[in-house]
């Protein structure tokens, strides 16, 4: 198909070729100026399995994903429903929800850094009024990951909302009217009509949410660098660190292969399971 040609060429050049190269790299040692790469078989993978930071990153990332995906999607749906209803200043509210998407993460990270600052940070100032100040959100390994999660949810929810909003607007009003006539309460309409009709959108958003959950690490680079004590270490951030901090490209490639495998697995499950059950109108 001629229509597909440009896309295929671009994807080969900037996705497939580099991906395959990455997989190949993972079986070689890192080339250094003085020592060229040599084939090492699975050595990189053995190193990885023994690497406590890797294990920590995987665990953190699972928590990160398990919280972010449902939270941001749920919030996004709630927001879309809210701004689809007739509320005062709807334009402003939509804009408000969407703002995080437009804000550059570099700058945002710094602003959040202020919110999280102990004692004089905004959150602590508020909590201080209730005598619960003095929290070092980012400096405490028990809270740091959660602090990061909050930012991610904040950043993603508005983005996903746009898609839910678009889908909501496409639902024929007569369907909801029919449901209403049939005595469905708002919650029943939501559960039995709106949500099923939003399924294709939900699938799409969930794919994106999974990807974001493994991809969004800008604020970690800017805020915690995986610390304290790797408590905010995520897989992609670790890859970034290994590749561009440690210059161990082979090991980074190995980690990347794992990341790709995880994502591919999730994606296949999502599509295989969901695409079949979701009709397209």
């Amino acid at each position: 198909m001629l229509l597909l040609l440009p896309a295929v060429v671009l994807l080969v050049a900037f996705t497939y070729y580099p991906t395959v190269a990455t997989i190949i790299d993972s079986f070689f040692s890192t080339p250094r100026g003085r020592r060229p790469a040599r084939f090492v078989g699975l050595a990189n993978y053995e190193t990885m399995l023994a690497d406590p930071v890797f294990r920590k990153a995987i665990v953190n990332n699972m928590i990160y994903a398990a919280v972010i995906i449902p939270c941001s999607m749920g919030l996004a749906l709630a927001m879309a429903l809210l701004v689809n209803a007739r509320i005062a200043g709807r334009g402003f509210v939509r804009l408000a929800y969407f703002t995080p998407t437009v804000l550059p993460m570099i700058a945002v990270a710094n602003i959040w850094m202020f919110f999280y600052a102990p004692d004089y940070g905004l959150i602590d100032q508020v909590l201080g009024h209730f005598g619960r100040g003095g929290n070092n959100w980012l400096g405490n390994p028990d809270t740091a990951l959660w602090a990061i999660i909050v930012i991610t949810v904040w950043k993603c929810a508005g983005f996903f909302m746009i898609f839910y909003l678009a889908a909501l607007q496409q639902i024929p009003p007569s369907l909801l009217e029919a449901a209403e006539m049939e005595g469905a309460t708002y919650w029943q309409q939501l559960r039995r009509v709106i949500l099923p009709l939003l399924m294709p959108t939900t699938l799409f958003i969930s794919v994106n949410a999974v990807i974001e959950a493994f991809r969004l690490v800008d604020h970690i680079i800017a805020m915690t660098r995986g610390g304290p004590d790797n408590s905010t270490q995520l897989l992609l951030h670790y890859i970034y660190q290994v590749a561009f901090g440690f210059w161990d490209t082979a090991y980074a490639a190995t980690l990347s292969v794992v990341l790709l495998a995880i994502l591919a697995l999730i994606a296949l499950v999502q599509f295989g399971y969901a695409d079949r059950r979701i009709f397209y109108r």
């Binding site: 198909m1 896309a7 996705t15 939509r94 983005f159 493994f214």
Partner: protein
């Protein structure tokens, strides 16, 4: 819009929740505005009578050729979004309307791009760009993003939701495949184009690492890279400067969205298929 038939209390509750959430969500932005228009002393102190100042903006504006950066960014974003529209529309149309043997597989293969982080491929993409000889051009920033699986997926979905009879009616009327695409599918998918365009504008307006790597000069550098100068934490955070710079760099985008959002919503309604 259908009438809101809910009771007054429900409506009030909806309003309250929506607004509370909205305020929570813009808090960082409000904070940015606060610090940007006050002297550094008030960065963490909320005093209603704090003196106002535009110094932070003046300083930021003078610190770098922001006007040039704006032009670069606008040019880049317009180019990327239009090129993406073209590439993704073509591919999505092929997938949605002319499925062929194995097209489902090819589509899955395309979706891989959703999952492959550009960050991971940075080094390799850098060499590709270098070997194409387009280093330090707008094309270099744009190329890896042009074939967006995200866009293809979205457009395919939008095209699939176009009622089949409309396609058929257009074909009966003698429209060829390209005409059907341009005159039926694309107009009907307008909300999707708007939404996707908006998201992509936001994404590329804020993209940092890749442009940083492939641009060298003031004449190609986008605004985020310019903004990067102020955002470093190495020497301690200078909040007023950072927030002022942030506002300068996202200001046009926010204003555009504010103006755009009316149009955005209206177009949803207009194209609403009964």
């Amino acid at each position: 819009m259908s009438v809101d038939r809910r009771s007054a209390t429900t409506r009030l509750a909806i309003n309250v929740v929506a607004w509370a959430l909205a305020l929570l969500w813009v808090l960082p932005l409000l904070y940015a505005v606060w610090t940007a228009i006050h002297p550094p002393l008030y960065a963490a102190r909320f005093d209603l009578f704090a003196p106002l100042t535009l110094d932070n903006f003046v300083r930021v504006w003078n610190a770098a050729p922001f006007d040039r950066y704006f032009l670069n960014t606008i040019g880049l974003v317009v180019f990327v979004v239009i090129a993406q529209f073209v590439v993704c529309t073509m591919a999505a149309y092929a997938f949605a309307v002319y499925p062929f043997r194995g097209s489902e597989w090819l589509f899955m293969l395309f979706l891989i791009q959703l999952m492959v982080m550009p960050e991971v491929l940075l080094v390799r993409n850098y060499s590709t760009i270098a070997s194409l000889g387009v280093m330090d051009t707008m094309l270099a920033i744009a190329l890896p993003y042009l074939a967006s699986a995200f866009g293809i997926f979205l457009f395919r979905q939008a095209f699939k939701s176009v009622p089949k009879e409309l396609d058929e009616a257009a074909r009966m009327e003698g429209a060829g495949p390209i005409q059907v695409l341009l005159r039926v599918y694309v107009p009907l998918a307008r909300p999707t184009y708007l939404a996707y365009g908006l998201v992509m504008v936001a994404y590329h307006w804020n993209n940092f690492l890749w442009p940083l790597i492939v641009t060298n000069s003031v004449s190609t550098r986008p605004i985020t890279v310019g903004l990067g100068i102020f955002s470093t934490v190495e020497q301690g955070i200078d909040w007023p400067t950072i927030t002022a710079a942030t506002l300068v760099s996202i200001g046009p985008l926010l204003v555009a969205f504010l103006l755009f959002q009316r149009q955005f919503v209206q177009s949803f309604m207009r194209s609403g298929i009964r």
